[in-house]
């Protein structure tokens, strides 16, 4: 990359290493151009200093959610974090997401998320709905569309203290998959009931609504207020509301299509 009008340098401290060698922070000085983002700086380092620096990225447009990392300790997309928005007097520290096992340098193993996702009952519309049933007003789907904005960057999973600090040994699907479940549950044509799964297999009760996930979401999805709390209410109504409980005992419940499979053990950055 050519050096722009200015030759001002910014210092970065980038995590390099593998689980075997433990890794360390390595300093690089990078010439700065106007509007430069952290990912630009990492690319400059790859092209000029460390050709094997491992970074996961795809679109560089904040649309694919691949380049998640922790910049100055905060989970963020490196492609939309501008150097000019970070304090100038200290080096920019770039580290991999801490919640997931390290692969190399800034790349982590996020496959646990894909395993969790597979456990969620997919979209289940009625098989015989007539064409007219597939008409909805824009207002009826706006909430679902909010949840479907998720780009699966897993920053919410990374910041979630339940997952990050291994606060429970029991399964907890994490904010990303509560958002997916909410998007399915609120879809006007979905007929599955994921409530039992959310309560047991998904561990929704472990979320104690600290809203950290909402704060880091690059798509500005109101994860806690709009997805998790309504799902928690749904679970509470079903299992703890005496009227509902009695009703269920008398008449049975709605179709319960949950896969019933437990989600796999939680990810662990220390490999345990």
């Amino acid at each position: 990359m050519p050096v722009g009008r200015t030759h001002r340098l910014r210092h970065l401290r980038v995590f390099r290493g593998t689980p075997e060698d433990g890794g360390e922070l390595v300093e690089y000085s990078v010439p700065v151009q106007e509007g430069m983002v952290v990912l630009d700086a990492l690319h400059w380092i790859q092209a000029n200093r460390a050709p094997d620096l491992a970074v996961r990225w795809n679109c560089k447009a904040a649309k694919c959610g691949s380049c998640s990392a922790e910049v100055n300790g905060r989970p963020t997309l490196t492609c939309k974090t501008r150097l000019s928005d970070l304090p100038e007097d200290i080096p920019v520290q770039v580290e991999p997401m801490r919640t997931f096992p390290l692969v190399r340098d800034l790349v982590t193993d996020v496959s646990w998320n894909y395993e969790v996702n597979r456990r969620i009952t997919p979209f289940t519309p009625p098989e015989d709905a007539p064409e007219e049933a597939w008409r909805w007003q824009q207002e009826d789907i706006e909430r679902v569309q909010e949840f479907r904005k998720c780009i699966e960057c897993f920053l919410c999973q990374d910041i979630c203290h339940v997952l990050r600090n291994h606060e429970t040994r029991n399964p907890f699907m994490g904010p990303r998959f509560l958002v997916r479940a909410a998007g399915l549950e609120l879809h006007p044509m979905d007929r599955a009931d994921r409530t039992p799964y959310l309560k047991d297999g998904g561990g929704i009760g472990y979320c104690n609504i600290t809203k950290c996930c909402t704060e880091v979401c690059p798509e500005h999805i109101k994860i806690t207020d709009n997805a998790i709390i309504p799902l928690k209410e749904r679970v509470a109504d079903t299992y703890y509301d005496p009227v509902q409980v009695a009703w269920r005992k008398l008449f049975g419940r709605r179709s319960e299509a949950g896969s019933g499979q437990p989600i796999p053990g939680q990810p662990s950055a220390d490999g345990s």
Partner: protein
């Protein structure tokens, strides 16, 4: 230290799909549903493919907004937009089947924006005579890929993530699998398959200014070429008119055509709405006569009602708008950073934020520009390749037995210029067809085992860059390639430039053979880039040689030394194929369109 790996894992499937964007996912879902065992390989994590960046919408004549729309008008628009070089049968199938494919996505859980009467909303786009693009704000690609991804995962097919394919395995005349490596470990992996579907997207990373992600290195084009399949129409590379131009780090990033679809106006530094001057005579009557007619059209669109006003001049086809912007800038009427202005700020801010939420975010966060209060600076960016693997319209079969292709890697559907929105519909329609085609083929043949020679060769190729000591850095070589393609094989071309480009590409190829890589094999981006560079070099040469051969201007291919269309070339597809170590370039006769379809275009 020897890095050759003696051990490798092997997976066997009936159908192997390479690429997990829209086309690959759709093909995999269909092949699985047809009873085949399916493996789906992708270079990235699942759900990150380039389709996720598609913004404006998927074109299908649902006739929800314009009730007089039909597959016939969609077919006509597509053929005219492609300057009649399209494979007519593909264009016909595409127009006829796109509505079913879109409705099917809705049945699988996609949540499109709605009309007032609750149906799928459709927006206008360049070159489409009717509002035709089903969409979700400006993140349609994300909605599509998530829907397809969830469907594919629920179907139980095998997904191999972060796996790069470097070679197709062949046995005589047949493709029988593929070989590659895991990006996370660098270890070799072999896939045996009765049929292989390429769905690897485009080649845009060969250019400096591009809207394409790093994955777009022409892998499928090059794999097919190396395996002996034909590529057609490679000279047709689409430059999207509106990419960001500032700041430098985001130069080329896509600004969706939906900005113009919603009423965005293009102006130069003299505040002149220059597109009025660039409308081609033969289609002038399809566009508004005055600013006020164009405004009436935008107003009617906003209120969701029919109008007799015609569309604004900004909605001309992409090839034309890109040339116009390029010319304005070259003649000194450009913006501060070498683009022109695109303005949507005259519309109510809340409308802009609702219709174009990710554009609003993109400019606010990456450029510090509020598009609800001022104009964007934009310029052309390499976006799409119309050319690709020659396929059978019905099944997606390439000219090599056992090899299929769908989506951007396949050629023919879009002719000399693709209309916006026709890519998302293309990948659904032909992804589905390739899935059917590959599964049916797989039922007919017995599995075959790759020869040990081919596997050993692939292993040696993987290890070689670590043994070189030339000092040739893959990143620098990539930058040289991009500079060559950008300056010599861009929007406007001449024989002299193209000849120079071909010579330079030869030099770069020689350098590539000695490229030096350091570090481990595990997640090593310099090493990964080496194999992508090989593919980009093949594709770049195919583009340059095809462009030199076509001595006319048509659609996205503009020759300064041959500025007019040539009736002789109107009937020819360019054809590229491998002849030993040489690239053979020729042409073949364009398939003849039946009279009843011809009448739809020129009644």
């Amino acid at each position: 230290m020897s890095r050759a790996r003696d051990q490798y894992e092997t997976h066997a499937h009936d159908v192997l799909v390479i690429g997990a964007g829209g086309a690959g996912l759709r093909a995999a879902i269909e092949a699985q549903a047809a009873g085949a065992s399916v493996g789906l390989v992708c270079k990235s994590l699942l759900g990150k493919a380039h389709t996720v960046m598609a913004e404006g919408g998927v074109a299908a004549a649902l006739a929800n907004v314009a009730t007089d729309d039909s597959w016939r008008t969609h077919f006509r628009d597509t053929m005219l937009g492609g300057k009649m070089l399209n494979n007519w049968r593909m264009a016909q199938i595409h127009a006829q089947e796109a509505p079913d494919r879109v409705r099917e996505l809705e049945r699988w859980g996609a949540v499109f924006d709605r009309t007032r009467d609750g149906r799928i909303l459709q927006r206008p786009f360049g070159g489409h005579s009717h509002p035709r693009l089903a969409h979700v704000g400006d993140r349609t690609g994300l909605e599509m890929i998530r829907t397809l991804q969830d469907r594919a995962v629920a179907s139980g097919l095998a997904v191999y993530m972060e796996c790069t394919i470097t070679r197709l395995l062949t046995d005589g005349d047949r493709v029988i699998g593929a070989i590659g490596y895991w990006r996370t470990t660098g270890d070799m992996v072999v896939f045996r398959a009765k049929a292989v579907v390429l769905a690897t997207g485009g080649i845009g990373r060969a250019y400096q200014v591009t809207s394409n992600s790093w994955e777009y290195s022409g892998d499928g084009h090059a794999l097919a070429y190396e395996a002996g399949a034909e590529l057609i129409d490679m000279e047709f590379v689409q430059f999207h008119p509106t990419g960001m131009v500032w700041p430098p780090g985001v130069r080329g990033l896509l600004v969706t055509e939906a900005v113009r679809g919603e009423g965005g106006i293009l102006r130069n530094n003299e505040n002149d709405r220059f597109m009025w001057r660039y409308l081609p005579d033969e289609r002038r009557h399809e566009y508004a006569e005055t600013d006020s007619e164009a405004s009436r059209w935008v107003e009617a669109l906003r209120e969701g009602r029919q109008t007799d006003a015609r569309q604004p001049p900004e909605l001309s086809t992409r090839d034309n708008v890109s040339r116009a912007i390029y010319t304005e800038v070259r003649e000194g009427r450009g913006s501060e950073h070498g683009g022109v202005y695109l303005d949507i700020s005259y519309l109510p801010p809340e409308l802009v934020r609702r219709k174009l939420p990710s554009m609003y975010e993109q400019f606010r966060e990456l450029a510090g520009v509020d598009i609800t209060t001022g104009p964007m600076e934009i310029g052309p960016t390499c976006h799409y390749v119309m050319g690709g693997v020659r396929v059978d319209a019905e099944t997606g079969a390439s000219t090599r037995t056992g090899l299929f292709a769908a989506g951007e890697v396949a050629g023919g559907m879009h002719g000399a210029n693709r209309l916006g929105g026709n890519s998302l519909s293309d990948l659904l329609v032909f992804g589905q067809r390739a899935g059917v085609g590959a599964a049916a083929f797989a039922k007919e043949v017995a599995p075959d085992k790759p020869g040990s020679g081919e596997l050993a060769l692939a292993g040696t190729e993987l290890a070689a860059p670590f043994d070189h000591h030339s000092g040739t850095n893959p990143y620098r070589l990539h930058a040289e390639l991009q500079a060559t393609m950008q300056s010599l094989v861009g929007i406007f071309r001449t024989a002299e430039d193209l000849e120079t480009a071909i010579e330079r590409l030869g030099e770069l190829r020689a350098k590539w053979a000695t490229i030096e890589v350091s570090g481990p094999r595990a997640y090593n981006p310099g090493w990964n880039l080496t194999f992508e560079l090989k593919n980009m070099l093949i594709c770049s040469e195919a583009v340059a040689r095809s462009a030199l051969q076509r001595t006319e201007s048509r659609g996205a291919h503009s020759r300064i030394d041959h500025p007019d269309p040539d009736p002789a070339w109107a009937k020819r597809n360019s054809v590229v194929s491998r002849d030993g170590d040489q690239m053979r370039v020729g042409h073949s006769r364009l398939p003849e369109m039946p009279a009843e379809l011809r009448e739809l275009i020129t009644p």
